[in-house]
C-alpha cells in the first residue's frame, strides 16, 4: 500500500464513481415482466390498462412459470419477475452472486389455490390431509373419500410453476404421484377436469370459471371453506398465498411509477376483477 500511486488510484476510482452514478440514472421506459402463469392474466390486464394511460411506457408481459421468471430475473432477461411462490434461498444466493442484492419482494395480490372437480362429482369438500393423500397417490379411488367407486385422475402443473411448488410444499408435502398429469397452465388444468368426471386439479382462483370448486378444510373437524375474498382475507381458506413481484433492485423511474400504480386502489381493483384478492 505504501508504494502505490495513490493519485492514479484515486483518479481511477473517481471515473468508476461517475460511471456508476450515470448508469444508475438512465431512465427506463420499457418494462419487461416474466414469470408466473397464474399471474399472467392479471399482469396483462395491468399492462394494458397502464399503457393506455401512459403511452410512453411499454410493458411487455410473458408467462413461463415462476421458476422461469426467477431464472430470467437472475439472468437479467426480465425487469420484473411474477411469482406465485416465494424465492428460494438458493435463488437469492444466485441473485447475490450476480447482482450483489437480495432482490426486492413486492406482494401484489392474494390467491386461494382452488381445487377443481368435475360438476358431476359427489365430493364437495376435502381436508388438507385428504388432498395430500390424493395428490401423493396414497388415495387412488374416490370411494376412499366418500365418492363413487372410480379411479381418481390427477391434473397438475409443470415443475417450473410456482403453484406446483407451493401446492407441493404446503399441501402434498411429498412427491406428486407419478400418474399426476402435468399441464402447461392453469387453464389447461381446468379444461382437463371439465372433461373428466373423475378428475381433480389445482390452480389459481381466477381460473375457476365453469367448474366445480371443492371446499377445503384444515383437518377433519374444521369447517370447510371456498376461496372467496372474505375467507382469503381472513386466512380461513387453508391454501391461501401471496402473489409476488420480484425485482433485482429497489425500483426507480418508470418502474417505480408502474409498481406504485399496481399497488394503488386502481391497480388493486383489477386484482378483484380478474378473480384474485387485493393486498390492500
Amino acid at each position: 500500500m505504501r508504494t502505490l500511486k495513490f493519485k492514479k488510484i484515486a483518479a481511477f476510482l473517481t471515473i468508476i464513481g461517475i460511471g456508476i452514478i450515470s448508469f444508475a440514472f438512465i431512465n427506463q421506459e420499457r418494462i419487461t415482466v416474466k414469470g408466473s402463469d397464474t399471474m399472467v392474466i392479471l399482469a396483462q390486464k395491468w399492462a394494458e390498462a397502464y399503457m393506455k394511460k401512459n403511452p410512453a411506457v411499454s410493458v411487455q408481459v410473458t408467462g413461463g412459470g415462476s421458476g422461469t421468471g426467477i431464472s430470467a430475473l437472475i439472468n437479467g432477461a426480465t425487469d420484473i419477475c411474477n411469482a406465485s411462490r416465494k424465492m428460494k434461498q438458493t435463488e437469492i444466493e444466485k441473485l447475490k452472486a450476480r447482482y450483489n442484492t437480495l432482490g426486492v419482494e413486492i406482494p401484489c395480490a392474494k390467491d386461494g389455490i382452488t381445487i377443481y372437480l368435475h360438476p358431476t362429482n359427489k365430493i364437495k369438500e376435502l381436508s388438507l390431509k385428504q388432498l395430500s393423500d390424493i395428490f401423493a397417490g396414497r388415495i387412488k379411488n374416490w370411494k376412499e373419500v366418500g365418492g363413487a367407486n372410480a379411479e381418481i385422475r390427477l391434473y397438475g402443473r409443470e415443475n417450473s410453476s410456482g403453484t406446483y411448488v407451493f401446492f407441493k410444499d404446503n399441501v402434498v408435502k411429498a412427491d406428486y404421484a407419478a400418474n399426476c398429469q402435468t399441464l402447461p397452465g392453469t387453464a389447461a388444468v381446468v379444461n382437463a377436469v371439465k372433461k373428466d368426471v373423475n378428475g381433480i386439479g389445482y390452480g389459481g382462483a381466477a381460473y375457476s370459471v365453469g367448474i366445480e370448486i371443492c371446499k377445503v378444510k384444515k383437518d377433519a373437524n374444521s369447517p370447510a371453506y371456498e376461496p372467496t375474498a372474505e375467507t382469503v382475507k381472513k386466512n380461513q381458506y387453508p391454501i391461501t398465498r401471496y402473489l409476488y413481484m420480484y425485482l433485482r433492485n429497489r425500483p426507480t423511474g418508470a418502474m417505480k411509477t408502474y409498481i406504485d400504480w399496481i399497488l394503488s386502489p386502481e391497480g388493486q381493483k383489477m386484482v378483484t376483477e380478474v378473480g384474485y384478492f387485493p393486498v390492500r
Partner: protein, 462 residues
C-alpha cells in the same frame, strides 16, 4: 298405379335406410378405430412423457475460462501466454426429491481431473417443526466449508482465490462426509464435515532425494486421523436496504508424522515426537458478507483466518538424515468491494494479505536457521521464500455480454514482504533468472519488485 308408386317409394326408403344404417355403422367403426388410435397415442405419449421427465432430472452445466496473462515478474518465462484456466463440466441428477448425485470434471489440456463427486441426501422424514427438512448429508468429494472455497470460480469477482485460501485449502475439495443443518424458519446454516484431510498430497515436503513426495493416493487417506471441520453462518435482513451474512469456521486436523521431530516456524524450537504421532493443523476463521442496494447492487465481503498449518517431513534420506515436519503459524485475510454498474457491468476490488509464518518478520528471512543440537542439515531448516508474506491488490472489471458470456479484465498488484540486506546492501533473499535474450537477472526481495499480473479472460458458461 298409386299402390305401385307407394311400393317403389317404400323400397327406396328401405334402401336409403339401409344405406344410412351402413354409413352409420361405418362411421361408428371409424370413430372406434380413431378412439383406439388416440388411446394408443395417449399411451405412447405417457411413455414418452415418463422418459422425458426422467431426462429432465439430469442437469448439465459448466464453464470454460480462456485467458491471456501477462506477468511483470521476469523470473516467470514465458511472461505472457494464452491458457485455459478452467474447463468444467458438471452433471447433476436428482433421482427423486431429496436425493442428488453430482459429478464435476476438469477437462483441460493437462488431462482429466475429477473435481466433485458426491451424493446429497436431504431429510425426508422430519416434516414439521423447527427442523423440518433442515438436514442434509453429503458424501464423496466436495468443497471444504469456507465462503471463498464454496463460491464458484465462474462467479468470483477476481480471477483467483485469495492467498490464504489457496494455501490452506489447496484444490478446495476433500473426500469425506458433510452434515448440513439449514432450518427453513431461521436464516442459520450449520455445516459439519469429517474429512480425510490429506489435501490430495499437497501438504508434503518435496523429497530432496528426488523421489516424489506426493505419493498419497488422493482417493484414500494417508493416515488414520480424520479432520473435523465446522462452519456456521447467519443472515440478517436489513429491510429493503440489503443484508448482512456473518459466519465462522474452524478446522481441527492432524497428519501422521513420518519422522521423529517437528520444527516450529520460529526456526528455534524442535518438538520431539514419534513416528506415527499426530502433527496438528488447526485454524479458525471469521467472515462477513454485506449486500446493499445502493444505485444498483454493492457488496463488501471479508474473512480473517489464523492458526497452525503443517507440512510433513520425510523418513530417512540417503544421507541418513531426517527431514522434520514443519508446523507454521499463519494468518491471512481478504476484503472485497464489488459494485454492479447497470445490468451488464461490474467493478471489483480485493485487498488480500497472507503471511504463511507469523513467527518471523521479513528481516529474519534467510537469517534465521535452526542450529540446535538436532540440526539435520536439510535445507528446509532454513527460513526461506516460503515464509514471505504477500499483499495483493486486485482490480477487476467484468462485462456481461449476455447470460452466458463474461469478459473480464483484471490487474493484480502483488507486493512481497521485504527481507533484510547484507553488508553489501544486497537482499538476504534473491532469485536469479535468465531473460529471454539470455542475460541474467535478479529479483531482490529486499525491495518490492515488479510482479504484477494482467489477466484478460473470456468465460462461457452454460
Amino acid at each position: 298405379m298409386k299402390k305401385f308408386i307407394f311400393l317403389i317409394a317404400m323400397l327406396g326408403c328401405i334402401q336409403m335406410n339401409a344405406k344410412a344404417q351402413s354409413v352409420e355403422d361405418s362411421l361408428k367403426e371409424q370413430i372406434s378405430e380413431m378412439k383406439d388410435r388416440i388411446n394408443g397415442m395417449d399411451e405412447r405419449l405417457m411413455t414418452s412423457e415418463s422418459d422425458v421427465s426422467k431426462l429432465t432430472k439430469i442437469k448439465f452445466s459448466g464453464y470454460i475460462q480462456a485467458q491471456f496473462d501477462n506477468f511483470e515478474n521476469k523470473a516467470i518465462q514465458p511472461n505472457n501466454y494464452f491458457s485455459l484456466r478452467r474447463t468444467r463440466l458438471k452433471a447433476a441428477y436428482e433421482a427423486t426429491d431429496g436425493i442428488k448425485f453430482v459429478l464435476q470434471s476438469e477437462m483441460g489440456p493437462a488431462g482429466f481431473a475429477l473435481k466433485d463427486a458426491y451424493v446429497v441426501l436431504n431429510d425426508h422424514w422430519i416434516k414439521s417443526g423447527f427442523f423440518a427438512k433442515a438436514f442434509s448429508l453429503t458424501a464423496g468429494k466436495f468443497n471444504r466449508l469456507n465462503y471463498e472455497v464454496e463460491y464458484s470460480s465462474s462467479q468470483r469477482e477476481v480471477p483467483e482465490r485469495s492467498g490464504v485460501i489457496r494455501a490452506i485449502y489447496p484444490d478446495e475439495r476433500a473426500i469425506g462426509l458433510k452434515l448440513e443443518i439449514n432450518p427453513e424458519s431461521l436464516p442459520l446454516k450449520l455445516q459439519l464435515a469429517l474429512l480425510n484431510g490429506n489435501d490430495g498430497g499437497f501438504n508434503q515436503f518435496s523429497d530432496t532425494t528426488g523421489k516424489s513426495a506426493k505419493t498419497i493416493i488422493e482417493n484414500k487417506d494417508y493416515d488414520n486421523f480424520k479432520d473435523l471441520m465446522a462452519r456456521a453462518t447467519y443472515s440478517f435482513k436489513l429491510g429493503s436496504f440489503g443484508g448482512l451474512d456473518i459466519g465462522a469456521h474452524a478446522y481441527y486436523g492432524s497428519l501422521k508424522s513420518n519422522t521423529n521431530a517437528t520444527l516450529r516456524s520460529d526456526y528455534a524450537t524442535i518438538d520431539s515426537s514419534k513416528t506415527g504421532d499426530a502433527v496438528k493443523r488447526n485454524w479458525i476463521g471469521a467472515e462477513f458478507q454485506f449486500f446493499a442496494d445502493v444505485l444498483g447492487g454493492l457488496s463488501i465481503k471479508g474473512e480473517y483466518i489464523t492458526g497452525k498449518n503443517a507440512i510433513l517431513g520425510g523418513s530417512k534420506f540417503a544421507n541418513g538424515n531426517l527431514l522434520p515436519n514443519f508446523q507454521n503459524n499463519f494468518a491471512g485475510y481478504y476484503v472485497y468491494f464489488i459494485k454492479n454498474i447497470g445490468k451488464k457491468n461490474q467493478f471489483a476490488f480485493r485487498y488480500d494479505y497472507y503471511d504463511p509464518n507469523t513467527d518471523i518478520k521479513g528481516a529474519d528471512i534467510k537469517v534465521l536457521n535452526y542450529t540446535g543440537a538436532n540440526s539435520m542439515k536439510i535445507g528446509k531448516l532454513n527460513s526461506s521464500k516460503a515464509d514471505l508474506a504477500y499483499t495483493t491488490f486486485t482490480f477487476a472489471w467484468h462485462f456481461y455480454f449476455d447470460n452466458n458470456i463474461r469478459i473480464t479484465m483484471a490487474y493484480a498488484i502483488v507486493q512481497n514482504e521485504k527481507v533484510g540486506t547484507n553488508a553489501a546492501g544486497v537482499g538476504n533473499l534473491t532469485e536469479s533468472y535468465t531473460n529471454p535474450d539470455g542475460t541474467p537477472g535478479v529479483n531482490d526481495y529486499s525491495s518490492i519488485f515488479k510482479q504484477n499480473q494482467l489477466t484478460l479472460r473470456l468465460q462461457a458458461k452454460f
